[in-house]
Symmetry: C2
Subunit: 333 residues, 2 copies
């Protein structure tokens, strides 16, 4: 039976939302086990262990302020490290955490471990396509697992992202684009030019060439490949702009005329539907691709629903056979 390791102490609203998530997940998903890592007294006060729910007591917590490598090496009895160790030891099949991103990526790299021949794993969030093919999504990779990235890493991101899009998201022949400062071939930095050449030569992917970050939300590609520094800046620019515009709209309505307020009230359902269209937590979390098991990061501010979605995403990934397929591919490189 599939087992999900949940870091009960990770995130801004832990452990309340992780406890709630574990409950809801077990109700909604049959035949999957949950191992909950965290403060024993707190967890036992709110949860009854049963044959599909195991509470694993841990005594330390990785905080948002912790330096990632130091935390993973030093806090051996933290909920995050113990959950990752359970995956490493074969006692769980995937780890989900809303905790310190850098620390979770480090746990994925150092504890769960890289797939053979993968140079650097990359972080792959799913982002919504908000015009045209509404409801679909694309992968951005690397969104920040690496501060410095080589072209060869980007070739591997493209392959991993492409497998993920095909196997897990069910997108046939996913279109792989390279984020660049122009769409023409030959554009860009020394790094993006070198990456372009490697992607163009890579037979296992459907490379459509350069794409601009301006067109990502239009669904210009299914897998947007970039170095981890640029990807992190692009992800945060998209998230920050979306929330700033929505906030501006709210402020304008609330601070506007009576007619504006009334108009806003009449649009309430529309705006709610729109918020849902751009809410990435509907899709689950960001997955670290290139490691031996699914390592899924949800937003620090995640509510129980976002964590449940990430846990379901873990099940989908495991059932898809993605990791095995990627492992087989890179074994022969």
């Amino acid at each position: 039976m599939i087992t999900i390791a949940l870091d009960a102490m990770g995130g801004d609203h832990a452990p309340d939302v992780t406890i709630e998530a574990a409950k809801v997940f077990l109700e909604e998903v049959p035949n999957v086990k949950v191992k909950l890592f965290g403060d024993e007294a707190v967890l036992r006060a709110k949860l009854q262990a049963n044959d599909r729910l195991e509470i694993i007591p841990t005594t330390e917590i990785v905080t948002g302020e912790d330096e990632p490598v130091k935390a993973i090496r030093g806090k051996k009895d933290s909920s995050m490290v113990r959950a990752a160790q359970a995956v490493k030891d074969g006692e769980a099949d995937a780890i989900v955490s809303a905790g310190n991103t850098g620390a979770l990526l480090t746990a994925g790299l150092l504890v769960v471990g890289r797939i053979k021949n993968i140079g650097r794993p990359g972080l792959a969030p799913l982002l919504p396509v908000v015009s045209g093919n509404l409801g679909s999504r694309f992968i951005l990779m690397d969104a920040g697992a690496n501060a410095d990235t080589k072209a060869e890493n980007m070739r591997q991101f493209a392959i991993l992202g492409s497998y993920y899009a095909a196997k897990v998201l069910g997108i046939p022949n996913p279109r792989v684009g390279l984020i660049n400062n122009g769409t023409e071939a030959g554009k860009g930095s020394a790094l993006s030019q070198a990456a372009y050449d490697l992607l163009a030569e890579e037979a296992s992917i459907n490379f459509i060439g350069n794409v601009e970050s301006r067109n990502l939300l239009e669904g210009v590609c299914d897998v947007a490949v970039t170095d981890g520094f640029t990807g992190n800046a692009v992800l945060k620019a998209i998230e920050g702009t979306a929330s700033a515009i929505v906030r501006l709209l709210k402020d304008k309505i609330m601070g506007g005329s009576t007619m504006a307020k009334l108009g806003g009230a009449m649009l309430k359902d529309t705006l709610k539907g729109m918020a849902k269209d751009v809410d990435t937590s509907e899709f689950g979390g960001a997955v670290l691709l290139g490691v031996k098991a699914p390592v899924i990061k949800t937003h620090g501010s995640s509510d129980a629903r976002a964590i449940v979605n990430a846990m379901k995403q873990a099940v989908t990934i495991i059932e898809s056979g993605f990791v095995q397929e990627a492992t087989d591919f890179f074994a022969n490189e």
Copy 2:
């Protein structure tokens, strides 16, 4: 008298909008001359030259498809190159163009020329602060003049952007932030770490440390410094996200219930006001900083109003003495 060189043939809607812009500008702004470079027959058919408007006939056009360096070196009688040459020769004080961005940057670099001791000029668009201090703006630099950037270039961007914010925008002691993948010191790529150290040591600026692209539109800093590749990706991600969200809202209203449509109609003025708040063309264009005279790029899709605003911005820059002050500063480096 200040003279603005306007590339009449640059942009998607040239020369109609550039002709209109020249007319409006001359009506609105006294004591400034305009030199209009372009197709003589077309311009003379629609404009009457006078003592403040000179039409300079040119026979070539730099198109959006032209390779920048080749275009600037090869199309010597293009409206863009001739306009830049007029600035170089002291016959005009600034150039405004809605044409090929890469070509205009190249014209700025190769024709107008760098300020002494400036390694690489950088492109500095003004972006709106859309929450908190609404109506204010910040500079993003470099937004893409350079595909590959060194830390020392970024130090110069910080100084140039800071002078620009203070002298031209009138922001006292502008806050300079470095775009990075986290706010803590020590974060980031090898490049951003090296840039951080140079900015922290630079006495002439008010460096506030790392900023994340997520917080730019909240006005987290007045000058956001980054390398040209990341800056380009961030700028386009912000623009693309803003327009995707606005389009999504429109689609939802138009495709929604009768109540949604009515609500949308009642919010029309609010949405218009909001569009104005996030419309960067209100501020003028993106300025190439680090060259010997203002080189201003407006969007290819600019209307006459956007071009007029960019021409006014050129006048403000010239009257501020920004170029001379920057020249004096870097002369002593």
